[in-house]
C-alpha cells in the first residue's frame, strides 16, 4: 500500500504563518466556532475594509453568500479545524476565488478526517493510527495522503496482509 515516507507526503498540507496581505483592500476572516487568538491579532492589525464571520458549518448559507460576492481584490483568512478550513476553501474555489486569495491558519486541533478506501466512509476525530473505520469497522492505517476535495486523509486496512499482525498504535500529527 501507499506507505508514508520520512521525507513527507507531498499532498499533506503545510501551514505557514499567516500575515495580512498588504495588497488587498478587503479582508474576510472566517473562523469555525471561535476566532482564534492568532486570527484576532490579524484582525486587530488590519486597518482596511474587513469583516469577521464565525460559523460552525462550512455550508452556512450566509457564509456562501459572502463568498459568492467576494471581490477580486479581497483576501480570505481561514481558521478552525482542518476539515472546516478545506471545506470552506473548496466552496471558495467554486465561487471563483484564486488559491492565492486564501490564507489558511494552522488548524486548531490535530484531529483528522479519515477516508476509508474500502467503504468510502469518512471517520471524524482521528488522532492515532490504526483507527477503526466508522463505516465498515476495519482497522485503518492513517496515511498522510490528503484529498482537498474530501478534506480527509487516506486510510486502508492496516492488517490486510497478515490479520494477526496489527501495527502498534501511534499518534498522528
Amino acid at each position: 500500500m501507499q506507505t508514508e515516507q520520512s521525507n513527507g507526503v507531498v499532498s499533506k498540507p503545510v501551514y505557514q504563518p499567516v500575515e495580512l496581505n498588504p495588497k488587498s483592500s478587503f479582508h474576510l476572516f472566517i473562523a469555525e466556532q471561535n476566532v482564534t487568538p492568532a486570527m484576532q491579532s490579524l484582525y486587530d492589525h488590519c486597518l482596511k475594509d474587513k469583516k469577521v464571520t464565525v460559523s460552525s458549518d462550512a455550508s452556512d448559507p450566509e457564509l456562501l453568500k459572502s463568498l459568492a460576492c467576494f471581490p477580486l481584490v479581497g483576501t480570505l483568512y481561514l481558521a478552525g479545524t482542518e476539515p472546516f478550513i478545506w471545506r470552506v476553501a473548496s466552496y471558495a474555489r467554486q465561487a471563483g476565488l484564486r488559491p492565492d486569495q486564501m490564507l489558511m491558519m494552522t488548524p486548531v486541533t490535530r484531529e483528522r478526517h479519515l477516508f476509508c478506501c474500502h467503504c468510502y466512509q469518512i471517520t471524524e476525530g482521528v488522532t492515532y493510527s490504526p483507527f477503526i473505520c466508522a463505516g465498515c469497522g476495519l482497522s485503518l492505517e492513517v496515511t498522510d495522503h490528503f484529498a482537498r476535495l474530501h478534506s480527509a486523509y487516506f486510510g486502508y486496512q492496516a492488517n490486510a496482509e497478515d490479520r494477526a499482525n496489527l501495527p502498534e498504535r501511534r499518534e498522528v500529527s
Binding site: 500500500m1 501507499q2 506507505t3 508514508e4 515516507q5 521525507n7 507526503v9 507531498v10 499532498s11 499533506k12 488559491p99 477516508f115 478506501c117 474500502h118 468510502y120 476495519l138 496515511t143 498522510d144 495522503h145 490528503f146 484529498a147 482537498r148 476535495l149 474530501h150 487516506f154 486502508y156 486496512q157 490486510a160 496482509e161 497478515d162 490479520r163
Partner: protein
C-alpha cells in the same frame, strides 16, 4: 501476425489467465539497464518493434481483450464509482470517444468500424457485439455516459486530466485495474498531489520536470512511458478498494511457487492531448507476465534479476514488495551467470 483475442480467462478466484508464446514474445519488458533507477523516461508514442509489437498501434488490442472487458464489467457492476467524470469533463469524454473510435477502427478494421456523417455516428464493435448510432457530443444519445461507454470497449485504464493554472487535474477516469491507487480518493487532485505518496521522486525534481514537459504536449504528439510493479497472482484489480481482499496474497509467496505466483506488471502509459477540451488523455495499459514465463527469455531473466537486486528500499516498500522481494531475487539469481 497479431495475436487475436481468445476466449475469456479470469483475473480473480481461479486465475485462469495465461499468456501464449506470442504474447510472451511481445511483452513490453521495461528494464533497459541492469541497475534500476528512477527517470522520467518518456518517448514519443510512435510505432516501434514492427508488426505485432505491443507498440505497433496507438491502442494495443491483444489476446486478452475479451477477458479484460469481462473483468472491467465485473468491477463496474460491483463498484460503479470506479468510473467518474466531473461535469466540466464532458467535452473531454467526447474527445476520448473520438480518439478511441477513430484509432480502433483504422487500426483494427476487422474488429471495429466507424461511420461518420456530420454528428451522426455509427459504431460497431464486432468483438463485443455492440452496434450503436448516436449523435456526437450528445450524451443522451448513448446507452450510458460517454466515458463509461467507450471505456468498457478498450483495454487499459483511462484518466482524463483537465489542464488549468499550469497544472493537470485528475477530474475523470475509468479505473478498474490500478496498481494500488483510488480514483474515488484522488479525484480532483493536482499532478503533484496525486503522486503525493511516491517516495524519492519529489526530492529528485522528477515531478517538476515531468509536469513542465506534459503541459507543453501539443495535439497529435502523444508520448509514452513505462511503469512497473510486481503483483501476486494474475490479479488485474489491485485497487485499494479491494486491498482488504487481496492484501493477504502477498504472504503466500514461497520459494516453490514464486515463479508461477509472482507477475511482472507493466503499464504502458500514453499521454495524448485532446483537441477540443485541451485535456490530456492518460491511458494506462496493463500487461501481466509470470516470472516463470519471463525467464524463458534469457536476456530478460538476467536483467530482471539485476534490476530487482538493486531496487532501493523505499521503492520496495512503496510498491508493496517487502514481504516477497527477497524470494523473487533468490529465484531470479539462478538465471544470472554473474551471480
Amino acid at each position: 501476425m497479431r495475436v487475436a483475442p481468445k476466449d475469456i480467462q479470469s483475473f480473480r478466484d481461479d486465475f485462469t489467465y495465461s499468456n501464449s508464446a506470442e504474447a510472451i514474445e511481445r511483452f513490453p519488458f521495461p528494464f533497459a539497464e541492469d541497475e534500476y533507477r528512477y527517470s522520467v523516461n518518456m518517448e514519443p508514442h510512435l510505432p516501434k518493434g514492427g508488426e505485432g509489437s505491443a507498440y505497433e498501434k496507438f491502442l494495443d488490442i491483444d489476446e486478452h481483450y475479451l477477458s479484460e472487458m469481462a473483468e472491467r464489467e465485473m468491477v463496474l457492476n460491483e463498484m460503479p464509482h470506479r468510473c467518474l467524470a466531473m461535469a466540466h469533463m464532458d467535452l473531454a469524454c467526447w474527445d476520448m470517444v473520438e480518439r478511441v473510435m477513430v484509432s480502433l477502427s483504422e487500426d483494427y478494421p476487422d474488429y471495429f468500424s466507424l461511420t461518420r456523417e456530420g454528428d451522426r455516428w455509427s459504431w460497431e464493435n464486432k468483438l463485443l457485439n455492440i452496434k450503436d448510432q448516436f449523435t456526437f457530443g450528445d450524451s443522451s444519445s448513448l446507452p450510458m455516459p460517454p466515458l463509461d461507454y467507450i471505456g468498457r470497449q478498450v483495454q487499459g485504464d483511462f484518466a482524463l486530466l483537465d489542464q488549468r493554472e499550469g497544472d493537470l487535474f485528475l477530474d475523470a477516469g475509468i479505473i478498474t485495474c490500478p496498481a494500488d491507487w483510488s480514483l474515488a480518493f484522488d479525484a480532483g487532485m493536482s499532478f503533484k498531489e496525486w503522486h503525493g505518496p511516491v517516495p524519492m521522486a519529489h526530492s529528485e525534481g522528477i515531478f517538476d520536470r515531468a509536469l513542465k514537459y506534459l503541459i507543453a504536449i501539443p495535439v497529435g504528439k502523444p508520448v509514452r512511458r513505462l511503469n512497473w510493479t510486481l503483483t501476486v497472482n494474475a490479479r488485474m484489480d489491485t485497487s485499494p478498494e479491494k486491498y482488504h481482499e487481496w492484501g493477504h496474497e502477498r504472504t503466500s509467496v514461497t520459494p516453490e511457487n514464486v515463479g508461477e505466483k509472482v507477475y511482472l506488471r507493466v503499464e504502458v502509459q500514453v499521454l495524448d492531448r485532446m483537441p477540443r477540451s485541451n485535456a490530456m488523455m492518460f491511458s494506462i495499459r496493463t500487461y501481466l507476465l509470470s516470472l516463470e514465463d519471463l525467464v524463458t527469455n534469457k536476456e530478460w531473466a538476467v536483467r530482471m534479476h539485476r534490476a530487482m537486486k538493486t531496487l532501493p528500499e523505499p521503492l520496495i516498500n512503496y510498491k508493496g514488495l517487502t514481504r516477497f522481494h527477497g524470494t523473487v531475487v533468490d529465484y531470479l539469481s539462478q538465471f544470472d551467470p554473474l551471480n
